[in-house]
């Protein structure tokens, strides 16, 4: 088995080396810059931690703590007590993060890598493949641990003046830390893949991960309301709760502290417990891998895709009428769009919601919409209060347009930003078909623009009612959202078409770097100019009140011309680049 592991590791190394050496020079420079960036961040973290720890052990801080203890009964004045709990707390968060991400990490590594067929067909022990894939999946976690947690622990130990034993144990802890969560993740993955195909499992986990992220975002949005209840000196006591001897992270933390203070008994006890559990979990994985890993993989290979029930009509011999997308939007688009563009739109409308990871991208903006609406209702508009000129008060009514626009922009970017990239390796179908690039983009634009006349319009109406806006203000806000949306969507679609990324596995990686960078810059430029014309020009009426109508109309005229220019420019650029795009070589 060891020889097989050596061969497989060597192969991985050769692939890694070739990927770097044979990549374009720009890619090499990027990799070198990233490494330097990580190195600089690691050094900064090390210095910061060391200085903070040195500061916390200074006499000034001891005096501050003594003052806090007088006002907070039960608060310990011994800063060392809290500092010793820091490794346990930090390791707890690192461990928790790895528990949350381990499933996806191991799933991709164990079951979704492209060389699985070759490896499993070769006379290589299953355990060897498992070990190599297991640690292959741990490369990024190890990189983060050694570049982030490593410098932190280094600075922490140096700040406290601890000796070499601490640093040796810190290195061992970092090596062992991922084994427990990733081992548990691997066991779970091997069990789940027996029931659910690996790709579907990844989609589901992606959505769950997204939901956790959104929950965290919601929590952070309301942190201000929660913070006064907990943000006091007693917070320090919460730190010590992470040093609970029942937690494996606390065993590692205590082992570190013991190594720093030269308490060899404690080091042996807690270090032994932590190492035993981590290595034991990994050993259990290896023991079970021979049977479970292969069973999961072979099960995955024989499982087909989702089998959909046939409709009764078809069973009776009728042709299958594609009823699913015959929604109002689709029927309406049939009148507006050319036939081939409508076909692209229909197809995208079907494909998009069938990949859960696509749907996940839509949840976040909707949650943001909810939070902002709540805040708008609960706190009111900053423009609305007090004695202000009428023109400034009317800006407050534009908050509905701003919020609606932002929500739609995020939704539209998620749906349309990767419009061409979403075709992936199937782009040849469009390239071979008798459809021009501009007609393809028209279909993509229709999909990406969809949030504006639907969700955007409803949102503007809803917020306008809440804000008691006049009909004129409502129409103005709606026109701003619709027109601004058209401009922004054209940028999204145009840049997505100009710089597509057709070789992706995960839909979240559909956006190319160029499109991802250029689109926001162009949004800012376009929206900056548009808002300057729409809001800046009427502001001049404060100096010349008689010209308010002229300036307002002039602002709208500029906005219209600008939008028309952006739509034409972005789509023409995207279509021209798309025409030149080659498929396969």
């Amino acid at each position: 088995m060891l020889n097989a592991i050596r061969v497989l590791v060597r192969m991985q190394f050769v692939i890694f080396r070739n990927t770097f050496w044979r990549s374009k020079i720009s890619r090499k420079i990027l990799v070198i810059l990233v490494v330097f960036g990580l190195g600089a961040a690691a050094y900064g973290l090390y210095q910061l931690t060391r200085n903070i720890v040195q500061g916390l052990t200074s006499p000034d801080f001891a005096e501050f703590l003594a003052r806090a203890a007088r006002t907070t009964p039960g608060l310990s004045m011994d800063v060392q007590l809290y500092l010793l709990a820091v490794p346990s707390a930090v390791l707890f968060f690192a461990l928790a993060l790895m528990v949350l991400t381990s499933f996806t990490t191991v799933l991709s590594s164990l079951y979704l890598s492209g060389d699985m067929d070759m490896l499993l067909a070769a006379p290589v022990p299953m355990r060897a493949v498992f070990v190599v894939k297991f640690f292959g999946g741990l490369l990024v976690p190890y990189l983060l641990l050694f570049f982030l947690l490593g410098p932190f622990l280094l600075g922490f130990g140096q700040g406290l003046g601890w000796g070499a034993a601490f640093f040796v144990i810190a290195f061992v802890v970092l090596l062992l830390l991922p084994l427990l969560p990733t081992g548990l993740g691997a066991l779970l993955v091997m069990a789940v893949v027996r029931v659910i195909p690996a790709r579907r499992a990844r989609e589901i986990v992606g959505v769950i991960g997204g939901m956790v992220g959104i929950s965290w975002y919601i929590f952070s949005q309301f942190a201000n309301q929660l913070a006064p209840r907990v943000a006091n000196a007693r917070m320090l006591d919460y730190l010590r709760r992470f040093d609970n001897p029942l937690l494996p992270s606390a065993w590692a933390g205590r082992a570190l502290a013991a190594a720093g203070m030269g308490d060899w008994v404690q080091l042996g006890l807690y270090g032994g417990l932590f190492a035993g559990l981590s290595i034991g979990c990994f050993a259990l994985c290896i023991a079970l891998a021979e049977r479970l890993y292969y069973a999961g993989w072979s099960n995955m290979s024989t499982q087909g895709g989702r089998v959909r029930k046939r409709r009764r009509a078809k069973d009776e011999g009728q042709t299958s009428a594609p009823n699913a997308p015959q929604s109002f939007v689709v029927r309406l688009s049939s009148f507006v769009l050319p036939r081939e563009s409508a076909a692209v739109l229909y197809k995208d409308l079907r494909v998009f919601p069938r990949d859960l990871r696509n749907v996940q991208q839509l949840i976040f903006p909707l949650v943001v919409a909810g939070i902002w609406t709540f805040r708008l209702i609960s706190s009111g508009s900053p423009f609305g209060a007090g004695e202000q000129p009428e023109i400034l008060k009317s800006f407050g009514q534009l908050a509905s347009a701003g919020i609606s626009f932002y929500i739609c922009l995020v939704l539209s970017s998620a749906m349309g930003g990767a419009g061409i990239s979403r075709e992936g390796r199937g782009f040849w179908l469009l390239k071979v078909a008798p459809i021009s690039a501009s007609r393809i983009l028209l279909g993509k634009l229709a999909l990406a623009y969809l949030p504006y006349p639907t969700i955007g319009a409803l949102f503007v109406l809803f917020l306008s009612i809440l804000q008691h806006s006049t009909p004129v203000e409502f129409v103005r806000a709606l026109a701003m959202v619709m027109l601004g949306g058209l401009g922004a969507t054209s940028i999204t679609v145009g840049m997505g078409a100009a710089f597509p990324k057709l070789s992706w596995e995960n839909p979240r990686q559909q956006n190319s770097l160029q499109a991802g960078c250029l689109a926001p810059i162009l949004y800012l430029a376009y929206l900056g100019l548009a808002l300057s014309a729409l809001l800046g020009l009427p502001l001049l009426a404060l100096l010349a009140p008689g010209l308010v109508i002229v300036l307002t109309l002039l602002g709208w005229a500029i906005f219209l011309v600008l939008t028309a220019g952006v739509v034409w420019g972005a789509l023409t650029f995207g279509a021209a680049r798309l025409e030149r795009l080659e498929v396969g070589g």
Binding site: R308, S320, R339, A343, V351, D355, P434
Partner: protein, 258 residues
């Protein structure tokens, strides 16, 4: 064998060339395929078969030369040219989250076919390819052979005049492979020009009206099987192929090793 002399070619390559930096993948290919003709495009691995096909159908831009379909330059008049083309790649990547029926409906929309007629023909094709019962399953769950058949159904939906197939029988069971051969004969009899690249020389020998052999990016022989036999010592297409592409030495080496 049909005589196609005097007919306007449906597929035409004139000096087609493709370079990637210093590497020349295709070094000026000239060929013509007439309506109703089955044309076999043969060559060893890496000879430039797929690159030539991709230039002919507009997936790749030629570095030099012209590709015409039905007299339309694929680069200058792509829509008119592509409306005549049906294409089945060797690795048919299809939208995985569409069902086979939805895929055919999508193709019908792209080619602007009449909806009712396209639906009826789609059903016929699904039945023909034994996919009638799986028409509502997502393509993502299909095997390679089923994807190949779905791609074939999509390519045949609009009755193409120029039908391109890249290794059409790879991954297909004998029944499906036979079906494809029958279909190719049928569409060629209806006047469709069939351009097929294949490694299976037996298929080329039995089905093709003419063949071209490409090696190192250059067409080294074109003609009917009789025309090819006339200039070479071998009797079978395999012998001629190995003689032309330098495979005879390898065959002798393999014999020695055996």
């Amino acid at each position: 064998m049909t005589n196609f002399n005097g007919q306007q070619p449906m597929i035409e390559a004139a000096g087609l060339r493709k370079s990637y930096g210093d590497t020349v993948a295709v070094k000026g290919v000239d060929l013509q395929v007439h309506p109703g003709e089955i044309f076999g495009f043969l060559g060893p691995n890496g000879a430039g078969k797929t690159t030539t096909i991709k230039m002919l159908i507009g997936l790749l831009r030629p570095t030099a030369g012209i590709a015409r379909i039905g007299g339309h330059d694929i680069q200058r008049d792509p829509i008119a040219a592509k409306s005549l083309i049906g294409y089945v790649p060797d690795q048919p990547y299809l939208p995985e989250k569409l069902t086979a029926r939805e895929f055919l409906e999508f193709i019908a929309g792209l080619y602007q076919l009449d909806r009712g007629a396209a639906r009826r023909r789609g059903e016929e094709l699904l039945k023909l390819f034994d996919l009638g019962d799986r028409g509502d399953d997502l393509v993502g769950g299909f095997s390679h052979g089923m994807r190949q058949k779905t791609a074939l159904a999509g390519a045949l939906l609009h009755n193409p005049q120029a039908f391109f197939l890249d290794e059409p029988t790879v991954g297909l069971d004998p029944r499906s492979a036979r079906l494809i051969k029958d279909i190719l004969r049928e569409v060629s009899e209806r006047g469709t020009a069939v351009f097929m690249s294949t490694h299976i020389l037996e298929i080329a020998e039995r089905m093709c009206d003419r063949v071209a052999i490409i090696s190192g990016g250059q067409v080294i022989a074109t003609g009917t099987l009789d025309e090819l036999r006339a200039g070479h010592s071998g009797e079978s297409l395999e012998d001629i192929f190995l003689e032309l592409t330098g495979g005879a030495e390898e065959a002798a080496l393999a014999d020695a090793l055996a």
